[in-house]
Amino acid sequence: MQFRHKIAGGDFAKAGNVASSVKKVLQQLNIDHVISKRTVIALYEGEVNVVAHAYSGIIEIEIDEEKIKIIITDKGPGIADIDQAMVEGFSTATPQVREMGFGAGMGLSNMKKNSDFMKISSIVEEGTVVELINYLKPDARQESK
């Protein structure tokens, strides 16, 4: 089962719409609500990152019996130092973005906390790809670690 959503950079009012629709899908699939909640929170943070930093992005969600895989691909400034970006509280958000209640520097670390697997690759001045996986069965999660 695959879903694709486009998101526009800078449209904060719509940030979270993808997470909402995925939440409904996971509920209908009878996914454990703890896993579902983690996924929705990680996805929401990813969505906000695209809206806050990039020009545009595509979110692909793939669900099968084993896992939920999310790939967020954006066109944007990219991340120069990924390790630094992962540090809680580090943020390159503009003052305007912070004014709106975003850009606290918790996004990437929250995404990591709420996913079983996370991989970030980025090219400065081109864009960023974030891959997230949450496993539906507890033993699969152990193996991935």
Binding site: M1, G16, A19, S20, K23, V25, Q27, Q28, L29, N30, I31, H33, S36, K37, V40, I41, Y44, I63, D64, E65, G101, L136
Partner: protein, 461 residues
């Protein structure tokens, strides 16, 4: 559409009156949990999805949604007949009708004792504080409005753990008055406790309680019924009836069931939201953790909270106004009254807290995720065919719900009036078959009404 695992006995106070219902779709589109379909020309309610909020009752143009209530005659089985009245009962009457007039009318109707539901508010508030100290989940969500508790169970199951599981004021007050009467020498089986309810959700909460063993309330009497009886009595009012009534209220209690009635007494970051649409929108965001954490949320299904209850006859804004004025009069006696009721309550053992509240998620395509995935793929293919107009012509509230009904084997794609045209043009369906399908949804004589006859009836009136 029934999820097999869920409790089939779930009690609802809202029923469709098939004699009055003409299958018009107003209720179906108003329902916030997509619990209504039209079949054979009548609305039908899906029990596992209904949260007893009463939006269908408000939407129905022909009063075909019935709110179940106990027969008034039932009270006469008990020598001691107590009516438990919430403050909104008084609030809905015009100001020229005195509280004492209303008490007299209730006596005349047959009650021997009149007690105010909100007497237990101080006890409830102490329990809020205790529960919030012992439980660290945030935000804590009030369980005062039973429609909201049910909405969270079915639509926001991940928030069930955030419910502030304090026994509602009606239950605490019912136990309190029962004990008080017993202390005065009356036997328990001689006492009938009846609750004047402003809405359907409170009836469902008493008949089918969530998170508690059994409600101490004997029966429910709908407030719109009482309102009419009281007004009728007051038209030819007799002398003072000398009914027993307590006046243990404080301004807190009078305002409790109105919007912001709870939040003003809870510390920390709080928010009060009323109206089903507003609550839904907010819970959606809370579940995604879009907002910073709140400490406490007061959520009420009705506009203007209980003043806008579906069984309230008076105007909801005027009801709020009258209660606010009444609360001002009670301000002075506040402290002494609080101490007095607190002392009284301390001597009585009352369940302060509710047991666990279980999630009852609606709309699961299947228990088994593999099967659910297959159904989900089919649902999305179907959505691609359907026009996306949400016209209701198929007997379901919107295209998405129809596609879910189809994958669950409860509907056919040919129910969609647009698909029917396609299928007829491709010789997949005959016009006769299409007519039959529409008759199964909308009833056989939909277009066979005798328009002249209706006009004649009107003239006779």
């Amino acid at each position: 559409m029934q999820d097999k695992n869920q409790n089939k006995d779930f009690h609802h106070a809202l029923k469709v009156d098939n004699d009055l219902c003409f299958g018009c779709t107003h209720c179906m589109t108003a329902c916030p949990t997509q619990a209504i379909r039209v079949k054979n020309g009548k609305a039908t309610i899906i029990a596992n999805r209904c949260v007893d909020c009463g939006q269908c009752y408000i939407a129905c143009p022909v009063s075909a949604i019935d709110v179940e209530q106990d027969d008034l005659e039932m009270i006469f089985k008990f020598p001691v007949r107590v009516i438990l009245i919430p403050s909104v009962l008084i609030g809905q009457f015009p100001r020229k009708i005195l509280t004492s007039d209303i008490y007299d009318a209730l006596k005349e109707i047959g009650f021997t004792h009149i007690f105010e539901v909100e007497t237990s508010i101080d006890m409830v508030l102490d329990s809020y504080k205790q529960f919030m100290d012992e439980h660290k989940e945030r935000p804590m969500i009030s369980t005062f409005c039973p429609a909201i508790v049910r909405l969270i169970q079915v639509k926001y199951p991940s928030l069930v753990g955030n419910l502030l599981r304090v026994n509602p004021p009606i239950n605490m007050s019912a136990v309190y008055f029962m004990e008080k009467l017993k202390a005065s020498g009356i036997r328990e089986n001689e006492i009938g406790l009846f609750y004047a309810t402003p809405c359907a959700a409170k009836i469902a909460a008493i008949k089918s309680p969530v998170g508690e063993i059994k409600s101490p309330v004997t029966g429910v009497i709908n407030m719109n019924f009482l309102y009419n009886r009281i007004l009728k009595y007051l038209q030819n009012k007799r002398t003072d009836t000398g009914v027993h009534h307590t006046d243990d209220l404080t301004s807190k209690g009078i305002l409790w069931s109105l919007t912001r009635g709870e939040v003003v007494h809870v510390s920390g970051r709080t928010l009060a939201i009323d109206g089903m649409k507003n609550v839904n929108e907010f819970l959606e965001n809370i579940e995604n953790e879009k907002f910073d954490t709140f400490d406490f949320l007061e959520l009420r299904a009705c506009d203007e909270s209980c003043a806008g209850g579906i069984l309230i006859s008076g105007n909801r804004f005027l009801t709020v106004e009258r209660l606010q004025k009444r609360a001002l009069r009670y301000k002075d006696q506040e402290t002494t009254q609080e101490l007095k009721t607190k002392n009284d309550f301390q001597n009585i053992k009352i369940n302060q807290f509710l047991d666990n509240i279980e999630p009852r998620p609606m709309g699961r395509l299947d228990e088994n995720t593999a099967i659910a995935l297959k159904k989900m793929e089919r649902k999305h293919r179907l959505m691609c065919f359907l026009p996306g107009l949400d016209c209701g012509g198929c007997g379901a509230p919107d295209c998405e719900t129809l596609s879910e009904d189809i994958v669950q084997g409860n509907a056919l794609i040919s129910q969609c009036v647009f698909m029917q045209q396609q299928m007829i043009s491709q010789n997949l369906l005959s016009p006769d078959q299409a007519r039959q399908i529409n008759e199964d949804i909308w009833g056989g004589d939909r277009l066979g009404k005798d328009c002249n006859k209706i006009e004649l009836e009107d003239e006779n009136n």
